[in-house]
Point group: C2
Chain length 277, copies 2
């Protein structure tokens, strides 16, 4: 076998006039389709002038060799800046401009072709809502504050360490949803009644479960060797939680096999929530 | 003027085999280039079979009228599913497939053309890191816990209500960075020494400021009519905070005119941080 540093890596550049989040996300989705290829990734955000663009092209072209052609994913919208960028010798994948022409034809309207729409706070009302939702989610994490649950749009319910917190944060940050979360502790699981604080809100609850093995592993990182982390305890809590969800027709998902992004999408679809994007 | 409901809205569909986040983000970036057009948006995630695709096509085609052609943004990668989707009469903008062919030619490798790379946890190590980073950020929000600051990769420093919390959460959730944040209270601002808890970590600090008017507005929502929210107090704190950053060569940005996404990108670029995407 050859040493790791002798393996040829294909350089990949993500270019953007703004933060580069979309260029990176969509570019990586495409690169995931080539699991046998090794990539070396670099994001270059805020390319706002032709001068910067020329420097970027010089740098990218240096990465080009006889053996390897770098890939460039770009969401740059500014015409002047794009004119410079497309001069690169690398493979230039324009995630933006190539589609803009098609949209112009459909809408019979010319695109503004500047970065005005691409940065800043976007829709200020929606941005405010996201920021307020984060605050709400922080204040209502892990049953910390049970006041104002009436204002929650969604209450995530689960035994400890099933992923309530990251899922709540993601829903708040990306989708502006006011999420509270409520931890099912052992006392809650002895009965099939909903715990008092959430009793009136079953229609806003969404349950999370995990697999016993996964939950035991996650809990062991926090309290190794404890009853809390034991496989038997985890199995028991998950079984009881599922019974509770069933008894109250609370929809639920398993966090062991899904990312927070996927859980958020499923929860929103199930609860018919829309974001304001 | 015509009533709002008589204005023609162009229906927009975001289609995906996974969560639809990329389709939505990139689609919206493009739609922002047409500020004079009104859109009615709908996201349809998890289109995983030809059967679902046929239902989606039927629904989209119903939205088509003589006056308006709906726009469809798709990141669906599965060949069979795409074959069905492209039968729509709407304007189909394929954010994915159209570029995949170009990448295949550059890499001399065929794409796997399935959704394997498009869902699940992605790289498990990177996902773990993001989840742990959220936990760390929650525990170290607003100076709550000053233990383990040595483990922070980044410490956001600012007067109250300048945007530390959402920026920390975003950096943790999206980029897996262990972020702590430290609130500059009035006692901290009397001196130009760094507050004791962060004194040894100036090289990991990043400052946030705002404008006095914006800060006063945000604080007024929390404590209307208070000294804390007064323009004079906000001006004073911001001026002193900036002096502190300058004295210790702590880079800083103004959160009044930037989104959390932009702040995160600038901070990572300034501090030469990379995410593991």
């Amino acid at each position: 076998m050859s040493a790791p540093d002798s393996v040829t890596e294909t350089p990949v550049f993500f270019l953007a006039g703004g933060t580069g989040i979309s260029a990176e996300t969509l570019g990586n989705l495409m690169l995931n389709q080539f699991p046998s290829v090794r990539f070396r990734r670099r994001k270059i955000p805020f390319i706002t002038t032709p001068e910067i663009a020329r420097q970027v092209v010089a740098e990218m072209d240096e990465a080009m060799t006889d053996a390897v052609t770098p890939l460039v994913f770009s969401t740059v919208a500014d015409e002047e800046v794009r004119t410079e960028l497309v001069k690169t010798k690398c493979a230039f994948i324009d995630l933006f401009g190539s589609h803009l022409d098609a949209i112009e034809r459909v809408l019979h309207v010319n695109a503004s072709h500047n970065r005005a729409g691409l940065h800043g706070l976007g829709d200020p009302r929606r941005y405010e809502q996201r920021m307020k939702a984060i605050e709400y989610a922080m204040e209502h994490d892990d049953g910390q504050s049970l006041r104002n649950l009436a204002q929650a749009e969604l209450i995530l319910v689960a035994p400890s360490r099933c992923g309530k917190t990251p899922t709540s944060m993601y829903l708040a940050l990306q989708h502006g949803i006011r999420v509270a979360n409520y931890p099912l502790v052992e006392e809650d699981l002895h009965s099939t009644h909903l715990p008092r604080p959430i009793r009136d809100y079953a229609d806003r609850c969404f349950g999370l479960v995990s697999t016993p093995a996964r939950l035991s592993q996650v809990r062991s990182e926090r309290r190794p060797g404890s009853t809390y982390a034991s496989l038997a305890q985890c199995s028991y809590e998950l079984r009881r939680a599922e019974a509770l969800y069933r008894a109250h027709r609370i929809p639920s998902i398993n966090s062991a096999s899904m990312s927070v992004e996927e859980m958020a999408a499923v929860i929103m679809q199930t609860r018919h929530m829309s974001n304001l994007a």
